[in-house]
Symmetry: C2
């Protein structure tokens, strides 16, 4: 059975976010001076084939820890939803 | 009034995603050969001060078009929620 996993990876609180800081510095130059606390993260969407949802989620969490996120400085959340087998949504 | 905007920026369908392709090539080497259709996007979380939600959303959409996303190759979605004034959630 195929599952679509939506993974949201973001820097932990207190970790410096240079990309967000750069956006925050750029916005006033474009006339937006009412914006603050800009943080940038990444999302990963993938399709995983697994016998059941629990197995798929366990595997995605393991992949996050090993490759997709850096657990030292990043936290992540996983959302899983089933798709019809063979679909590539 | 302050609003937290969650912006989700992803490559449009059909646009080559080298980062996603690289992850897809790396996963089998780690023993995950049941993963496909990997796509990577980014999220931006920011706080905007605006008189009302409609104004805040209009401004965030404008910022996406001008700076945060590349409308030629990327699509984005905006989620807005109010926060107590002065909070930096």
């Amino acid at each position: 059975m195929a599952f679509v996993a939506h993974i949201d990876v973001s820097l932990k609180a207190g970790i410096l976010d240079p990309q967000g800081g750069e956006i925050e510095r750029a916005l006033p130059a474009l006339g937006y001076s009412n914006v603050s606390d800009v943080r940038v993260g990444k999302t990963i969407r993938l399709v995983v084939d697994a016998p059941d949802a629990a197995g798929a989620e366990a595997q995605v969490v393991e992949m996050c820890d090993r490759l997709l996120a850096n657990p030292v400085i990043e936290s992540y959340s996983v959302d899983l939803e089933p798709v019809a087998t063979g679909s590539s949504v």
